[in-house]
């Protein structure tokens, strides 16, 4: 564990320089090398220290499904980083920088990749599940990012995804008809930089030009 923390900054630096060379916008990583050991401790949330919370073993313990043989309720508590508004705003930037937006589309609307704008997610929608989906990749086309971008950055993306999937819920299921859905998000060309797109909605346009 300690060895991991010591080598992480070097690994991060090497990989990042390869990626940053190709990016139009530099990735803001202020103090990331020094910050890693502090994750989960000293963040003001009173969480346990990183050393017993964020090991890859424990992340894997978080189930992706509500199905545990023996009807045992398994809900491990992990000390993950605080997924606050700042983290979500950083995640918004990374969502563009790493071309997540290319597959999942602005505000996670879905396209080449599935929509992230509403639950459920097929590979689990708890933060730990989302973290591992990004880290490991997933069948049917999600690339494996874990060896290519640092953990802190992935948590910021998780924070952003947690924000964009807060779709308003009117009923337990989903009705689709000529009158449902009744609302749509204000499209990105009129509301470019928000990490909370569900705060801005308008009347559903039925394929006609949107009314901002």
């Amino acid at each position: 564990m300690v060895a991991l923390i010591c080598t992480a900054p070097v690994r991060v630096g090497l990989m990042l320089s390869a990626i940053v060379a190709g990016l139009a916008t530099a990735v803001p990583l202020s103090g990331s090398a020094q910050e890693s050991p502090a994750l989960g401790s000293g963040d003001g949330g009173g969480n346990p220290t990183r050393s017993d919370a964020l090991s890859p073993d424990r992340l894997i313990d978080v189930p992706v499904v509500n199905l545990t043989p023996g009807a045992v309720n398994v809900r491990p508590k992990l000390a993950i980083p605080k997924l606050d508004a700042d983290a979500a705003q950083r995640g918004l930037q990374y969502f563009t920088n790493f071309n997540c937006v290319g597959c999942h589309m602005p505000n996670g609307g879905g396209g080449m990749g599935p929509a992230l704008s509403h639950r459920p997610f097929i590979y689990g929608d708890r933060p730990e599940n989302i973290y591992l989906s990004i880290h490991q990749g997933r069948p049917n086309g999600m690339p494996a990012w874990g060896t290519v971008i640092p953990e802190k950055l992935i948590w910021d993306l998780v924070a952003y995804i947690e924000n964009i999937n807060q779709a308003p819920v009117q009923q337990w299921g989903t009705t689709t008809s000529m009158t449902s859905p009744a609302i749509e998000q204000v499209p990105k060309e009129f509301k470019p930089s928000t990490a909370r797109p569900w705060n801005y909605t308008q009347k559903f346009s039925n394929g006609q030009a949107p009314n901002p």
């Binding site: 139009a24 609307g109 879905g110 704008s117």
Partner: protein
């Protein structure tokens, strides 16, 4: 030479064709076959060789390649079904392909066997099926060995536009980049060759075309910065014979001393490098994912290239050769004879991969060998197919991005006020990125001399942003939001006269018409709608003669052929999807307009009309008055 609606053949080939067909008709075969058709290659003990694609393109009873013939006319000489009786058309049988994503494949029929391919989804991605036309029996199926990750590299649904056939072999392209040859009689794999790499953002969705024992295959990947190419694979061995790139130095684009572009601004050495900032041609796109036609007399293949990478044009100042261009190449060597770039420095993702229909047309009272190319940019092009010179280019839908095509220079006259700039939303851009017409192919009738064009009617808002290239991830840099064009209807099926350069008639549809077209000697034109109607209209007047409500919307290609029973059949696969319809078959949120590269905005109500499907439908006139649907003549 002999030129007709299906293109041109030297006399020698015509004589060979006639001799082979009449010889085959004399050969005794164990099962009955209609006159003037080669015997069934899968009949046990048959000594006749399987038909060649050159024979099949001239054979009205079969449909041997997706576009019907090398001229890409999609016109059938069959007239048992005609404008007077098509109202009686009914289902003969159906077959479910299993994988309920976009069904774009054209059903092929060779001597009583139907060949279709499913999309890249479900337990057997890109599964190929061979079915007995007489009763819908499944003869065999073949499932390639898939890499499921390819599904995440497909920009526009996990579609396949169909198979190819020649001399007893079926040819398949897989989404994850393989060219495969399969024994048409048994379904056994003959060879497979890897052509593309998903880690470079490459996939393959196009239907291959076989010319002179070479399987021609082009890649997709313009939204991933995947460098475009067209490759020729030996039909017998699977070896790659040549590969012509769409960007880069002349040595890789296969431009040599024989190359003569029709306009001087495309002349010069290594223009595929010089028309880009340093090294940007390496992620330049220009993918050959559409249709290929072939003129045997000129010995030229014609195909178009896709958009340059990235969509944000400010990453790539310059003309970005040879993206958004039509190439004419020698099929034996791949060397380019001419190229014409329809869209220099593309601003809008106006790929120019649409079909090039080879026709002899009167232009200024002189018959010219031309190609008709419905441009994505909304202009109907007529080019001299020997030289690439633009003879005419006329708008066929609402266009405000380009005010005219300057016939003297060959360049579009752009509306500069709409030029995208990072951080500035451009509103009401017409046509939207899929253009006035996307890949969905048109059909040409030599009787009416009209082009039957399925297409859409969309505009968009467009906001470019910074983007960096990371291999295997999208390279786009644009937020798009499409919506219905002026008037509110999002699609149209029209008949266009390329000599008068006018629409003769047009049928407005509420949704984009994303299926291909078919037209016949019976003066009937067929197309399918995304809200599940398969329609037959009068080829002269456009009057609706017959329609059928299927299980799922149509984005496929209708084909027609005869059976051993002497009946004419029409077939199409039902199953919505594709770039326009993926919202109804995949997990895309209708409330987020910018999804699906902006198509969500225009199609957000589609799930209220249809969801995914996977059904091959085969129609015919009733054999007798007592026939009901789904009962075919029993096998003896």
């Amino acid at each position: 030479m002999l030129c007709g609606p299906r293109g041109c053949l030297p006399y020698a080939a015509l004589l060979f064709l006639t001799a082979t067909v009449s010889a085959a008709a004399d050969t005794p075969a164990p099962s009955p076959s209609p006159p003037n058709s080669p015997p069934n290659p899968s009949a046990a003990g048959s000594a006749a060789p399987p038909p060649t694609i050159e024979q099949l393109v001239g054979d009205k009873n079969n449909w041997g390649m997706a576009a019907k013939d090398y001229a890409n006319t999609r016109y059938s000489e069959l007239d048992q079904i005609n404008a007077a009786n098509v109202a009686q058309l009914q289902v003969a049988w159906m077959f479910s392909l299993g994988a309920a994503r976009g069904q774009e494949a054209a059903p092929l029929v060779i001597n009583g066997v139907v060949y279709v391919v499913a999309p890249y989804a479900g337990p057997n991605p890109n599964q190929v099926f061979a079915l007995d036309l007489a009763n819908g029996d499944l003869k065999w199926s073949y499932a390639p060995k898939p890499d499921s990750a390819a599904a995440g590299i497909a920009c526009c649904d996990v579609v396949s536009r169909g198979l190819a056939y020649d001399k007893g072999k079926i040819f398949l392209n897989t989404l994850d980049g393989y060219s495969v040859a399969i024994d048409a009689a048994t379904g056994k794999e003959l060879w497979h060759t890897r052509l593309g790499d998903i880690n470079k953002g490459e996939t393959i969705t196009m239907a291959p075309v076989v010319v002179k024992d070479k399987v021609l295959v082009g890649n997709s990947g313009g939204e991933y910065g995947a460098r475009g190419w067209l490759a020729a694979v030996d039909a017998n061995s699977g070896k790659i014979l040549w590969r012509a790139y769409s960007t880069g130095p002349d040595s890789e684009v296969l431009i040599g001393n024989d190359f003569k572009p029709p306009y001087p601004w495309m002349s010069g050495k290594d223009m595929g490098v010089k028309s880009w900032p340093p090294d940007k041609w390496k992620v330049g796109g220009g993918n050959a994912w559409g249709w290929i036609s072939y003129d045997a007399e000129l010995n030229l293949i014609y195909y178009g290239t896709g958009n340059p990478g990235a969509w944000n044009h400010q990453t790539r100042p310059g003309d970005n050769l040879w993206s958004c261009a039509i190439f004419a190449r020698n099929p034996d060597t791949g060397m380019a004879k001419w190229a014409y770039q329809i869209g220099p420095h593309d601003l809008w993702d106006y790929d120019e991969i649409n079909e090039n229909v080879l026709v002899d047309l009167p232009v200024n009272n002189q018959v010219r060998k031309v190609l008709i190319h419905p441009g994505r940019n909304g202009y109907m092009y007529v080019l001299d197919r020997a030289t690439g010179e633009v003879l005419s280019a006329d708008a066929f839908d609402t266009v405000n991005t380009i005010s005219a095509i300057d016939l003297k220079s060959g360049r579009p006259v752009l509306n500069d006020s709409l030029t995208p700039q990072v951080g500035r939303t451009v509103r009401n851009v017409c046509p939207a990125s899929p253009g006035a017409k996307d890949w969905q192919p048109s059909a040409w009738s030599p009787r009416t001399k009209l082009l039957y064009v399925p297409h859409q009617h969309l505009c968009m808002n467009f906001l470019t942003g910074d983007v960096g290239y990371i291999a295997g991830t999208p390279y786009v840099g644009a937020d798009v939001d499409m919506f219905a064009g002026p008037g509110g209807d999002r699609g149209e099926f029209m008949a266009w006269n390329p000599v008068t350069k006018k629409k003769v008639w047009a049928i407005a549809e509420p949704l984009p018409v994303w299926s291909g077209a078919l037209v016949t000697k019976g003066d009937v034109a067929f197309y399918g709608t995304m809200d599940r109607w398969f329609k037959a209209v009068d080829a002269n007047s456009g009057k609706l003669l017959w329609q059928f409500r299927a299980g799922s919307g149509f984005i496929g290609q209708p084909t027609t052929f005869s059976g051993a029973d002497g009946r004419q059949y029409v077939a199409i696969i039902s199953g919505v999807g594709g770039w326009s319809g993926a919202i109804a078959a995949a997990k895309i949120d209708p409330r987020v307009r910018n999804g699906a590269l902006g198509f969500t905005g225009a199609m957000q109500d589609l799930p209220a009309h249809t969801v995914g499907g996977a059904t091959l439908l085969v129609f015919a006139l009733p054999a007798n008055k007592r026939d009901t649907a789904n009962i075919a003549a029993p096998q003896q």
